[in-house]
């Protein structure tokens, strides 16, 4: 039955009517499926016929006509009925719907858009800073409240977050740390060999990894891994109205959702930093042994001599600060998500991008402020 319909598209037949006037008889099916690719040529053909004002149109033989067919005819006629038109009642109704063609969507063209975009961006930045400040203040108040009411500390949430952001991140940070250690050691050892300064590989690896690379690598990985999941979690809770349910139960978001995350990441992050630095050093050490023949026992003894312990504290300090900031930013973006899917994706992206940028800014600030600490 399908085939019958599809090989039966619209046919135009020009004939002379009983009264001698020229007549155009349309027959067949005039629908989207039957017209298919003929749309354009047919449109031009119909327009050609419509230019003749005395032509009589007979569309009563059209077996089936849908909106596409009706619009096609209507457009060919120049948005009005031809003077002589024969049609069936249901076609009448179809054409009636087209009779008052509603206005097109208003062309939205705004010449001030650069100014508006810039202004909106500035206001948005201000809004973000303000609400981050409010959130931090709220967390401080919550922390003070918990000091007074220790039985209210959300231990369970803190422990769950410690596990998710700390323990589960060990694999990926170890892998990345180890590989970066290998790369760094390999490239440096080739350079140092040409200068005959093999022994300085320990200084280079020790200072750069413990002070700089370990914390930054760990922070970036955690920002991408845990930060995005925190934002998405809060965002989904917004979409499913769970946040509203918590509010009406009198459970504040900051105390139950944000504070445990910030505390947990503040605790987990220095440990992850320590772990990443350790695996990176091991990677570097392995290569140093293979490339330069420095034994690992010697490496360890020398490491303690050439790298002041202040570097380790600096690295761990960066870990604490970065961890808490990542959690804070992720939660801030998570709570801003509106209940639609587009906002969820956008919020998660913004959260990760912002966290990573801020991690690097924090690193730069540390570098400037502590420029004369831990370096001989």
């Amino acid at each position: 039955m399908q085939e019958d319909q599809d090989i039966n598209p619209i046919v135009l037949r020009r004939e002379t009517g009983d009264d001698g006037a020229p007549r155009l008889v349309l027959s067949g099916r005039c629908t989207l499926t039957s017209l298919g690719g003929r749309m354009r040529s047919l449109s031009a053909e119909l327009a050609g016929y419509a230019a003749d004002p005395v032509l009589q149109w007979d569309i009563t033989e059209i077996a089936q006509m849908d909106d596409v067919g009706a619009v096609l005819l209507w457009r060919a006629w120049g948005e009005r009925r031809p003077a002589h038109l024969l049609l069936r009642p249901e076609q009448e109704r179809l054409l009636d719907r087209l009779q008052t063609p509603p206005g097109p969507p208003p062309p939205a063209r705004d010449w001030l858009w650069p100014v508006k975009v810039l202004g909106r961006g500035a206001f948005l930045l201000w809004e973000h800073l303000l609400s981050l400040l409010i959130l931090s203040g709220q967390l401080l108040l919550d922390a003070l409240y918990l000091v007074g009411h220790p039985q209210r500390i959300p231990w369970r949430e803190i422990s769950a977050n410690l596990y998710r952001t700390g323990a589960q991140a060990l694999g990926i940070t170890a892998l990345v740390g180890f590989l970066i250690g290998i790369v760094l050691s390999y490239l440096s050892s080739r350079q140092l060999q040409t200068l005959g300064a093999d022994i300085f590989i320990i200084n280079i690896l020790g200072v750069s990894i413990i002070r700089e690379l370990g914390p930054v690598l760990a922070a970036i990985l955690v920002a991408g891994r845990s930060g995005s999941s925190m934002t998405a979690q809060l965002g989904v809770m917004r979409v499913t109205e769970e946040l509203d349910a918590l509010t009406v139960m009198g459970i504040p978001h900051s105390l139950r959702l944000v504070l445990p995350k910030v505390l947990a990441l503040g605790i987990a992050m220095p440990l992850v930093v320590l772990w990443t630095s350790a695996t990176a050093l091991i990677g570097g050490m392995v290569v140093a042994e293979i490339q330069l023949g420095l034994g690992h026992q010697f490496f360890f003894r020398k490491l303690a001599d050439v790298v002041p312990v202040a570097n380790l504290w600096l690295g761990l300090g960066k870990g604490v600060v970065c961890g808490m900031v990542i959690a804070l930013i992720s939660c801030h973006f998570g709570l801003r998500i509106k209940s639609n899917t587009e906002s969820l994706g956008e919020g998660t992206t913004n959260s990760v991008v912002t966290s990573i940028t801020v991690v690097i800014i924090i690193d730069a600030i540390f570098a400037v402020v502590f420029s004369n600490v831990g370096l001989k």
Binding site: Q2, T31, L32, T33, R40, D67, V68, R75, P102, N340
Partner: protein, 260 residues
């Protein structure tokens, strides 16, 4: 085309989730031009059956044919043909949240690649007029719309390609009674203007009674009743007794006595 021809044909359909059997040997034929209401208690699998008719889920056994073409066909041309003949109104509208109202309705038309932009603009306006949405709303995003408007626009999108077959999944769920009546009237109007076959899953008695020509009742893994409202009412089954002869059922049926 005769009225007895099946536009949707479900043959020997079985559905299992693990060891849980949802459907057992379901046979159903939706006739050309009718409105078939699909009812059943929660968990009876009406949504699953609907999804299988749409080709979104695969049945464990049996097959679904639309206009005589197998739904799980591997011929892309046949599949596209089926898709342009079907329109679907999802329960929550499923409007694309990244596109505004205009682009949501224009999307299926643009995907055909045979219509020019001027034609699409006119068609979108015709569809919007059909669902009684004013042109001033075309630039709004789905997030800015009310529930009733989302349903209407989703209906306009489902009707974008003038389908012969329309699936409605809980068309009035989440609408207040007044809006839901208006929506039912809208569907009735559209039905008068075009020849349309509708398959509708619902548990709203008012909608069911107002729209359906035939009703299929899903319970205990089978279709326990299939026929006009009168036939279904005379079938003896605990679910039907509960559903139609409860307090609410009586009230609705009394109001619609003239339809019986």
């Amino acid at each position: 085309m005769t009225g007895e021809e099946c536009i949707v044909e479900v043959k020997g359909l079985h559905t299992r989730f693990g060891s849980h059997v949802v459907h057992e040997d379901i046979n159903l034929c939706v006739h050309h031009g009718e409105v078939l209401g699909l009812v059943g208690g929660s968990g009876s699998g009406k949504t699953v059956l609907m999804r299988q008719m749409l080709g979104l889920d695969a049945p464990a056994a049996g097959e679904v044919r639309i206009c005589g073409l197998p739904l799980r066909s591997h011929n892309p041309g046949e599949l596209r043909q089926i898709r342009t003949r079907c329109g679907v109104l999802f329960q929550k509208g499923a409007l694309f949240s990244a596109l505004n109202v205009y682009d949501n309705i224009a999307l299926p038309m643009r995907e055909l690649r045979t219509l020019d932009e001027d034609m699409i603009r006119r068609l979108v306006m015709v569809k919007l007029k059909m669902v009684e949405i004013e042109p001033k709303h075309v630039n709004k995003m789905p997030a800015e719309l009310s529930g009733g408007m989302i349903k209407r626009i989703a209906l306009a999108r489902a009707m974008a390609l003038d389908p012969e077959l329309l699936f409605l999944d809980e068309p009035t769920a989440g609408l207040d009674p007044e809006l839901s009546d208006a929506f039912v009237q809208l569907i009735q109007t559209i039905r008068r203007e075009t020849t349309l076959t509708i398959v509708m899953a619902t548990h709203d008695l008012d909608t069911l009674v107002a729209l359906s020509d035939r009703i299929a009742v899903l319970a205990d893994q089978h279709i326990v009743a299939l026929g006009s409202l009168r036939d279904v009412l005379h079938t003896d089954h605990p679910f039907i007794t509960n559903f139609f002869h409860g307090d609410r059922g009586k009230r609705v049926l009394e109001n619609n006595l003239d339809n019986l």
